[in-house]
Amino acid sequence: MVERATWSRKLFLNFNYALLAFISFLCLFPIVQMIAISFSSGTAVASGRVTIFPVEFTTDAYRYVLRNKAFMDAVWVSVERVLLGCSLQMLLLVLIAYPLSKEVSAFRHRTLYVWFFMITILFSGGLVPTYLVIKNTGLLDSIWALVIPGAVPVFSVVLMLNFFRSLPKEMGEAAFIDGAGHWTTLIKIYIPLSKPGIATLLLFSVVGHWNSWFDGIIYMNSPSNYPLQSYLQSIVLMKQDSSALSVLDQSILANLSDRTLKSAQIGLGAFPILLVYPFLQKYFMKGIVLGSVKE
């Protein structure tokens, strides 16, 4: 299909590209600047001389951060949390979405179960009751407090459920005729066919777990158990209390409020999540079910 390029079409395309390039620049600029700041010297940053390229290049900030035990501990907690949290989420997600994707004729009380889950999207207990539940079930100060409360991502269940429904029903029926039960059908037919959907939801799940900070601060009893984002939050938003200034050794605080250091830590914190994208990318192609059913 060859396109005839009229001048107005060309103009439109060029304008379009320019606009999109500008918008992506707006998105990328803060990140690029942050990286530039993390590689610049403190005085250059303080005098506002850093834009896109590092000024007075140095890797001091990174060397300091990588030696910092608190930072590395936090990274480890985050990794642990993502591994545990995401595998639990994906497991429950599939197990819940599969039966709910069936028709009412095949699964009589489906509507009731759907409401059982949907109600949690509409209402939540609020901060204090949730905290009390976590506390009284003894999860406080353990990694499970970060994993279990969000173990069933209901919104993702809805997405997965619809994905299952979009698969030809006949394939499941064919499997049944060949003597497969529900488990076999799920594991051998539905899951392999749903890789794109699962990959997308896995990405949601990884990003969600990696980026959440509030639960870490609320449920953990000591900063040494914080996941990375909670740790970063407490560093980046540190109050510059002038009354504290005169008590604190000021060189310490100057050290802490250092923007290069903050940038380096934020950059390192965002890095692993950027790495995940390319690996999941290949599953984003549409699942191939074309031609599997003759109608």
Partner: protein, 568 residues
């Protein structure tokens, strides 16, 4: 087939219901033991505080309680800066401070949790809501009131009389009489205030030395001089690049900071505090006519382009950038501005500190809020040994303020080699002014009046910096102008001696109308201030005053005066 699936569904539904019941039951089970002791304990521990009262007015300070044997255990909650505070193997419950307190006083301190300051208040709220409370902890003024109303904190009146050390009392006195007063409820001492350093957090005028000398200026004696210097710096091209790209006075959008407040105080205008009027009634500083005068001057500065046209949207970082790039040569900062940020911003350019001058013959008074560091230390009513907090306070004072040994300083205060801030582990901290004291002590040694060994390690360190500066190493100018003979430390002494303070006269907990309406009133005040400076009519101020009164200001004033009458 339909029959079977139906049965399965019913079983399924009932299973789900059953599970939710089990979970609820589970949580109930676990919940009870943790709440039970707090409700049943009062009878067992009610005796210590009243029994120890041998009429409060007895001779002060019998001293600290003797070492507990066998050791007792106290729980607390910690708030800290995100900074390295442990050496290898140390934890919140096992570090230099907890070990020292255990070995010296027989008190084991256990922290139930530890959290950065930013989240501390929220975490305490959650904890209070869950019905759990450690033996002692720091709480905000409104939490203090809440806990007092709920009857969950201990009366410290008698044990303070009996066990507080002289040094603790001295710090309470230094903070100001109103501070300890604010920790009382109905005349009984219900908490120990976490004293702050408000008296040394007030404004200081900093002027760049090379510009100051370039125009042969003399120390500003009045606000008129300050305005004149601002004009010179903005119009006479102090950086000599031939372009009118400099500003007279550094200002940024945070109106609550010294940069703004220092200027207002020079005109006897006070932002966000309560002052006494001629009739002895309390009035809000926000609506006084002095505010209008000060704003008119700022408006003129702005109109002439002598302050940054964009100050209203610039944060402190932007101001610091202007300072670093040599566009700003004068601003109201604090007593430590030389060390941070000026030393980092302009390492080669020295800055001179000056006391805030006044607009007239009456010396300027610098406004200070209630002098606490955000919190009060309260003790759980059920704690068996409330008096144990005093040895813990004493440990902090001994190690942080009165220690003169370098070795102990490294061990308990700050280890500069490994960059560990050990002091953050102290379970109870109260702050005290130290700039004036440091200045006096260091100067005495510098002039040869005294021996170095009498100094604290911090003072010795400052002294070494000053000596290096005097020997020609200009890198140490920041130490010299904070502690030397013509320094912010000297101004701190002057402020204290002349009592150049305007403390807020309202030191109670927020009144009902305040909780409801003050946030909005503050908002319209700050909008008005910005509007006027950016060139709005001065009538805006009068309009604001009217509005302020109508929108709850009068109600708050009435409540504040009611409180004031009740304290007399």
């Amino acid at each position: 087939m339909p029959n079977k699936s139906r049965r399965i569904s019913i079983i399924g539904v009932s299973l789900v219901m059953l599970m939710s019941v089990i979970f609820t039951a589970c949580s109930n089970n676990k919940g009870e033991p943790s709440t039970a002791p707090s409700s049943s304990a009062p009878s067992s521990s009610a005796e210590p505080s009243p029994s120890s009262s041998d009429s409060g007015s007895a001779a002060p300070s019998a001293g600290l309680p003797s070492k507990f044997d066998p050791p007792i255990q106290l729980t607390t909650a910690m708030a800290n800066y995100s900074y390295t505070k442990f050496s290898d193997g140390e934890t919140t419950d096992n570090n230099v401070y907890t070990n020292y307190i255990k070995d010296t006083y027989g008190i084991e301190v256990k922290a139930i949790w530890d959290v950065p300051f930013e989240q501390y208040e929220q975490k305490v709220n959650l904890m209070i809501a869950s019905g759990e409370m450690p033996d002692f902890l720091a709480v905000s003024p409104s939490q203090f009131k809440q806990l007092y109303d709920a009857g969950s904190i201990a009366d410290l009146t008698d044990i303070y009389e009996k066990y507080a050390s002289d040094q603790t009392r001295e710090i309470m006195d230094l903070a100001g009489a109103e501070v300890l007063e604010s920790a009382k409820m109905k005349g009984r001492l219900m908490s120990i205030p976490w004293t702050g350093v408000a008296k040394e957090g007030v404004s200081i005028l900093w002027i760049r030395k090379d510009w100051f000398e370039k125009f042969n200026l003399s120390a500003p004696q009045s606000m008129a001089d300050v305005l004149k210097i601002a004009e010179t710096f903005a119009t006479q091209d102090p950086d000599g690049n031939g372009k009118p790209d400099t500003f007279g006075l550094g200002l940024y959008k945070e109106l609550s900071e010294n940069a703004m407040v220092g200027f207002l105080n020079g005109f006897h205008a006070y932002r966000d505090i309560w002052i006494k009027d001629a009739d002895g009634k309390l009035v809000s500083g926000d609506i006084q006519p002095e505010m209008k005068t000060a704003l008119a001057e700022l408006q003129a500065l702005y109109k002439n382009g002598w302050i940054d046209k964009e100050f209203g949207v610039k944060d402190i970082q932007k101001l610091e950038e202007s300072i670093a790039s040599g566009k700003v040569g004068m601003f109201f900062g604090n007593m430590g501005s030389a060390a941070a940020p000026l030393q980092q911003l302009t390492p080669e350019n020295e800055w001179l500190p000056f006391a805030v001058p006044s607009v007239d013959s009456e010396p300027a008074k610098l406004q200070i809020p209630l002098n606490i560091f955000n919190y009060y230390w309260v003790v759980n009513k059920n704690a068996k040994h409330p008096e144990a907090i005093f040895p813990i306070i004493q440990t902090w004072l001994d190690m942080f303020y009165y220690n003169t040994s370098d070795e102990l300083y490294t061990q308990y205060n700050y280890d500069s080699e490994q960059d560990i801030a050990h002091w953050m582990n102290a379970p109870i901290k109260i702050y005290k002014n130290k700039r004036a004291e440091n200045h006096l002590a260091e100067i005495e040694v510098l002039n040869g009046g005294k021996d170095k060994t009498s100094l604290t390690p911090e003072q010795r360190n400052n002294l070494a910096g000053m000596e290096k500066y005097l020997a020609g190493d200009k890198k140490y100018w920041n130490v010299y102008y904070q502690d030397g003979p013509e320094s912010s430390g000297k101004i701190a002494v002057e402020y204290l001696e002349k009592d150049m303070y305007q403390p807020t006269q309202f030191t109670g907990t927020p009144t009902p109308a305040m909780l409801q309406k003050k946030a909005n009133l503050d908002k319209i005040r700050d909008q008005m201030i910005l509007k006027v400076i950016l060139g709005g009519s001065l009538d805006e101020f009068d309009k604001f005053v009217e509005q302020w009164k109508k929108l709850g200001g009068d109600e708050i004033t009435a409540e504040v005066n009611e409180w004031f009458a009740s304290t007399k």
